[in-house]
Symmetry: C2
Subunit: 221 residues, 2 copies
C-alpha cells in the first residue's frame, strides 16, 4: 500500500445527497475542500446516482484537490472512474467488482479497500489482497439504507483484533462516539454525514481529528 | 476496428427489464442465446440498475456465449465491466465516459461505439476516434425515457450521408420498419424491445435479419 496508515486517520466519504440546491456551503467540491482544511486525511468519492460523465468531471477536480494537499483519494466501486482520473485507488463493497479482478485492472500499486461485515469477509478480503478493510456498520445510519446489523463498539473491537491489514470503521460515527471507535484500535474513522451534513465542515473535521488525537498521539497530519 | 461491418448488421441491445419474474423464455442469457440462434451479429450488454458484481457475472457469461458464436460483444457505458470480462469493446452515450479517456483505458484494438443525435455529435465522435456511431433515436421508444426528438427515416438518411465511420441506428426499430431503416444505408440496426420483449426471440431475430437481407445482399451471417 503506497499510503502510510496515518493517511487513513480521518477518512471522508462523499455523498452528494447532502448538498442541497443553493447550499450555502457551496458545491460538493467546496465542502470537501473545507473538510480537508479541517484535517481530513483521505477522501473516498462515492456517487451512486450521477452519470459517468458527471462522475469523471467531479472526481477529476477532487483528485487534483487531494493530490495538492497530500490527501489519499479513492473512488467507490467505479474502477473506470478511478482509472480515468488516476485516483490513488478504489474502495469496494461486497457487491462491487471482485478484488482479484480489481487488482488486475488497477495494478499492484493502487490501493484497494474493501468493506467487510464479519470475520469471513475480513479473511477473504485479506486473502485476496485488500490493502485495507473498512468494518461496517459500527452504528445504525441513514446514509446506507441497505446496511447490515450494526457491529457496535464491542463487535468492532473483536474484528479489529483479527485484522492483519490496516482497518477503518464506518457507519454512524460522529463527534460523540469517535473516541470510543478509535479506542478499538482502528487506523481510521470514515465519516459521511457528520462532515457532509455539517454547517461548518471544516470545524466538524477539526473536532473529529481532535477526538482522534485524544486517543493516540498520531503523527502530525 | 477489429470487426467487419457485417458484424454490426443485427445488433441486439439487452434490457433486463424485459425479463419478468418466472419468464417462460428463461433468463436474460437464455433470451440472448435464442436471439443469437436467430442471427444476431452483435450484442451490447446494457444494464443500468444492477450492482457491479451482478453486471460482471452476467457480462462474463454473455461474453463467452458471444465469443463462441463469433458475435461481437460490447458493454454499454461501463468500461470497468468491459475490461473485467475482456469484451470486444464498449458503447458510449453522450453522458458516458468521454471518448479520448475511454480510448486510453481500452487501448487501440477494442471497439468504441458512440451514440449521436445530430451532425455536431457525429463529427465530434469521428474526430475523437469512434469506431462506429449509433444514430438515435430513429423512432419514439419507451425503453429510453430520456431520449431526444426522433430523427425519422429522413433525418437518419441525412446523418448517414455524412458519416465516414460505420453506423447503426436505434430507437423503435422493429419488423415493420426495419427495411426502411436499412434502406438509409446504415450498416446495422439496433434492436431492444422487438427482440428482448418477443415471445420467441429467435424467430424475431430471424425475421429481422430477413428484412435486412431484402435490402442488401449481405455476406452470410
Amino acid at each position: 500500500m503506497n499510503s502510510g496508515k496515518p493517511r487513513l486517520t480521518l477518512y471522508l466519504v462523499t455523498d452528494g445527497r447532502f448538498i442541497t440546491p443553493g447550499d450555502k456551503r457551496g458545491s460538493l467540491v467546496d465542502v470537501v475542500k473545507m473538510a480537508i482544511d479541517g484535517g481530513v486525511t483521505a477522501v473516498q468519492y462515492r456517487e451512486k446516482e450521477a452519470n459517468t460523465r458527471v462522475m469523471v468531471n467531479e472526481a477529476e477536480v477532487l483528485r487534483r484537490l487531494c493530490a495538492d494537499q497530500g490527501v489519499l483519494f479513492l473512488v467507490n466501486d467505479r474502477i473506470d472512474v478511478a482509472l480515468a482520473v488516476d485516483a490513488d485507488g478504489v474502495h469496494l463493497g461486497q457487491d462491487d467488482m471482485p478484488v482479484p479482478i480489481a487488482r488486475k485492472l488497477l495494478g499492484p500499486k493502487r490501493v484497494i479497500g474493501v468493506t467487510v461485515h464479519n470475520l469471513d469477509e475480513l479473511k477473504k478480503a485479506e486473502d485476496e489482497g485488500a490493502d485495507y478493510v473498512s468494518f461496517a456498520p459500527v452504528f445504525a445510519t441513514q446514509t446506507k439504507p441497505d446496511h447490515q446489523r450494526p457491529l457496535g463498539v464491542k463487535g468492532l473491537s473483536e474484528l479489529v483484533r483479527h485484522a492483519s491489514v490496516p482497518c477503518v470503521a464506518i457507519g454512524g460515527i460522529n463527534e460523540s462516539n469517535a473516541t470510543d471507535v478509535f479506542a478499538t484500535g482502528v487506523d481510521g474513522i470514515c465519516i459521511v454525514s457528520a462532515i457532509m451534513g455539517a454547517d461548518d465542515p471544516k470545524e466538524a473535521a477539526r473536532n473529529l481529528l481532535k477526538s482522534v488525537k485524544t486517543v493516540r498521539g498520531f503523527p502530525s497530519t
